[in-house]
């Protein structure tokens, strides 16, 4: 067989399902999947709860046991920061399951000046990665703290020995794996049936298994037994299937001296965009959201997001950058930032064009696998779509990415919540399903043609001048006779319908909303949709 196993560092988080669920080891917690215990906290294990038990058995061992359902996705998500922290060490990180990650130490150990130093650095990085979990460590912290309340770091030859080293939180010197492993019981191999058989045959430790003749082991226990013996000898040659670190796709170019002219920057940007497009194409990726960041000579920043459904060409990127710069240069204080929430024109970037542009950075914020684009055979309507996209990109250059939006119908009851606005260029969410579902309590057509984003308050009064209230059964306290805004004269109501009460999301503490809607027609011939919520009447819409 092959050469010595690679030196491997393992980060092992014991009882990861418990930690991922946000429980401390000192709490008695068990995680179940299909009525079987899959993991238990240290406190629970102390009183006899063990993985593999039935839930009822476990609860019999420990009556105060908190039993949680397993959330595999949540475990993996919670482990991701640890993996990210490990990726920062520059070596491919192998993750076999949530709670176990390994990397080869060869490069990083030399960088950190020794394996012990590397192990300490990794332990610190892991502890930092999940500050929420890193509570005060149990016991006294030793400077190169390789074991924490929920993590263990160890280094040895090969992943198996390294895992055992991690359980102890030690660094096993090269070539000493066999002697390190010898005192461990055969259960450590993770083969329960084989372990039971070995015990019955009087072989209770890994050292005992390792000392047997290889040919005899193969003859008696088969290939699996032979593999177990190699593990026991510290010869774990299973390669680590590492995940390469996520590539940084951002490209940046610095201009020295700072460029003063927009076209000069656009020219540079074109080369930069070519590099970016080449990088993306090499990886078979398409960028759907691109951030163009410009830095001025005096340290000002100006960045903007550009959406596209995946076909960025160098010319397109350069064009966007030119619009962005033009919009910014034109945005002199006299022209001012557009008022209103739709025009986030960064004020701090204004009037600083004199300093020139020192750096341009293109960051693909969102990338997806490039599946290509299917053009229509008769290209004309496609050409029109492209023209609209270009024009709107220009408008977005003037007003910001949120400046131009597309409406999408969504599910809901009120006229405002039935529409979602998506910035032009973003993929349109497929909400039509929810919009088509029945929404009991929704007012039928016609809907108000004017729906203010921030509904103004209005007073609704009965004939006696008292404010109209609506009781729990949806009955008004009195027929509404007039409405008035604050400071305005009251206007007589000539017709009204409703109120229609709606009790939405009563199961949700934060989203719960009760409204009663009322349609009124005033003596001046105007019709409004009013809504009563928490004792205040709002103008939800105007029929116009």
């Amino acid at each position: 067989m092959s050469a010595r196993p690679h030196r491997t560092l393992v980060v092992w988080c014991p009882d990861w399902p418990v930690s991922a669920a946000g429980r401390a080891p000192e709490q008695a917690v068990a995680i179940v999947a299909g009525q079987r215990i899959v993991a238990a906290s240290a406190a629970a294990r102390e009183v006899g709860v063990a993985p593999g038990q039935r839930r009822r058995q476990a609860e019999a061992c420990c009556p105060e046991l908190a039993v949680l359902a397993r959330d595999v996705g949540g475990e993996i998500r919670a482990f991701e920061p640890v993996v990210r922290a490990l990726e920062a060490f520059g070596a491919p990180v192998a993750v076999r399951r949530a709670g176990w990650a390994a990397l080869r130490t060869r490069g990083p150990a030399r960088y950190f000046g020794g394996e012990a130093a590397l192990a300490g650095a990794v332990a610190a990085a892991v502890a930092n990665a999940l500050p929420a979990l890193a509570r005060a460590p149990i016991g006294d912290p030793v400077p190169p703290l390789l074991t924490g309340p929920w993590w263990r770091v160890g280094i040895a030859d090969g992943p198996f020995a390294a895992t055992m080293a991690a359980q102890r939180g030690v660094v096993v010197p090269a070539g000493r794996a066999a002697s390190f492993l010898a005192p461990f019981g055969v259960e450590a191999l993770g083969r329960p049936e084989l372990a039971e058989l070995l015990r019955r045959l009087g072989i209770s430790t890994l050292g005992g298994l390792a000392s047997l003749d290889e040919a005899d082991v193969l003859a008696r226990f088969g290939p699996d037994g032979a593999r177990a013996q190699r593990l026991a000898k510290g010869l774990d040659e299973r390669p680590l299937q590492g995940r390469p670190p996520t590539p940084d796709l951002a490209v940046v170019t610095e201009l020295d001296p700072p460029a003063e002219r927009v076209d000069a920057v656009a020219f540079v940007a074109k080369g930069l965009a070519e590099a970016l497009c080449g990088q993306l194409a090499e990886r078979g990726l398409a960028c759907t959201l691109l951030e163009v960041e410009v830095e001025t000579g005096d340290g000002g920043h100006f960045s903007r997001l550009w959406g596209n459904d995946g076909a960025w060409t160098p010319a397109l990127v350069a064009e966007r950058l030119r619009w962005q710069l033009e919009a910014w240069l034109v945005g002199r204080p006299s022209d001012g930032p557009p008022d209103g929430p739709g025009g986030p024109h960064p004020g701090e970037a204004q009037g600083r064009a004199e300093a020139g542009i020192a750096a341009v950075r293109l960051v693909p914020v969102e990338v997806v696998p490039d599946r290509g684009r299917q053009l229509k055979l008769w290209g004309r309507s496609h050409a029109a779509d492209e023209r609209v996209a270009r024009v709107l990109a220009r408008v977005q250059g003037m007003l910001g990415y949120d400046g131009a939006v597309r409406p999408v119908l969504a599910g809901g009851r009120g006229p405002a919540e039935r529409v979602r606005l998506v910035p032009f260029g973003d993929p349109v969410p497929d909400a039509t399903g929810a919009a088509g579902l029945p929404w009991p309590g929704r007012l039928p057509s016609p809907s108000p043609a004017i729906v203010p984003a921030d509904p103004p308050l209005v007073g609704v009064f009965d004939a006696g001048g008292a404010e109209v209230a609506v009781d729990g059964r949806g009955t008004p306290s009195a027929p509404p006779a007039s409405i008035a805004t604050s400071g305005g004269e009251p206007v007589t109501i000539v017709a009204w319908a409703g109120p229609w009460p709606v009790d939405e999301r009563w199961w949700d503490g934060t989203g719960h909303r009760r409204r009663a809607r009322l349609q009124v027609v005033t003596a001046t011939g105007e019709a409004y949709l009013l809504a009563l919520e928490r004792g205040a009447w709002l103008v939800e819409g105007r029929y116009d």
């Binding site: 739709g342 400046g403 043609a449 017709a495 105007r542």
Partner: protein, 290 residues
């Protein structure tokens, strides 16, 4: 730039003959260019519903024209504007709405606007003219509510841009667009600078067509009974090119299916139940009967 057409003018074109060779997209496009007249008359019109066509004086909304929807103190202008967008957008033309942050988009969908062809620029701010000019280049219909301080020169330039780019410009001058307008609108008094006939319009330039809602009522609602139903209204159009120069058309929004007759919106015996005594209801005659 030749305006690209969204409405395929020749759906019955013999595809097989062109596609026999290995004609690529560019070649097909060049054949397409060579084999048709420069500008088809029907390409110049964006489809609209018959009652609206009667208002405009043309069978459709003409590209390059400016249509102003004036405020008159009678609500209904917004629905009318949306109804004008319905035909073009559902036939594939791109529409953009500028400066209308409170547009009821559910109402738009109910009036027939294809929302996947509609783009909104809710807050153009001081860049109104620049935004509208840019949108006129790419969209087929732009509906915009101009700010109160739009200079006549800018309005003229925008109208010229629409003409040049073969896009229709709808000016929603009478729409209450923003929150303060709405609050002020509650007591039923339009702002001094707009609304009432005779006051200066938000659009200081001339337009091909000026529309204003002069009368309307609300059917289907009583005192505590029913609900708001279709809205009958009377619209007066002042046209520069069509004859007669001024027409008055009665229509009901949302536009009922062609040929259907709306007789009354008051149920039998409704007057006793609090419905308004004599709501103004006009029958919508089938197109053939006109």
């Amino acid at each position: 730039m030749h305006p690209a057409r969204l409405v395929d003018p020749e759906p019955e074109r013999p595809v097989g003959q062109v596609g026999k060779g290995r004609a690529g997209g560019a070649e097909l496009a060049s054949i397409d260019r060579r084999t048709r007249p420069l500008v088809l008359a029907r390409d110049e019109l964006l489809p609209v519903a018959p009652p609206l066509a009667e208002l405009l004086g043309t069978p459709g909304l003409r590209r390059g024209s400016t249509v102003v929807l004036e405020g008159s103190g009678v609500p209904g202008g917004t629905s009318l504007a949306l109804a004008l967008l319905a035909g073009p957008s559902s036939s594939g033309a791109w529409c953009a709405a500028v400066g209308l942050p409170s547009l009821g988009l559910v109402a738009a969908a109910e009036l027939g606007v294809a929302l996947d062809r509609l783009v909104l620029v809710p807050h153009p701010g001081r860049r109104f003219a620049a935004v509208v000019a840019a949108l006129l280049e790419g969209c087929d219909v732009v509906i915009a509510r101009p700010p109160a301080a739009l200079a006549p020169g800018e309005a003229r330039r925008l109208a010229a841009r629409a003409r040049e780019r073969r896009a229709a410009l709808l000016v929603a001058a009478g729409t209450v667009a923003t929150l303060p307008d709405l609050v002020r609108g509650v007591p039923g008094r339009p702002k001094s600078g707009e609304g009432r006939p005779g006051t200066p319009s938000l659009w200081p330039e001339s337009a091909e067509v000026r529309l204003s809602v002069v009368a309307g009522s609300w059917g289907g609602i009583g005192r505590g009974v029913g609900r708001l139903g279709p809205r009958p209204m009377e619209v007066v159009a002042t046209r520069r090119r069509a004859t007669p120069p001024e027409v008055s058309v009665r229509l009901v929004l949302p536009l009922p299916a062609e040929g259907s007759v709306l007789e009354t919106l008051v149920p039998p015996g409704g007057a006793e139940r609090g419905y308004p005594e004599s709501p103004v209801i006009w029958p919508v005659l089938p197109a053939s009967a006109r």
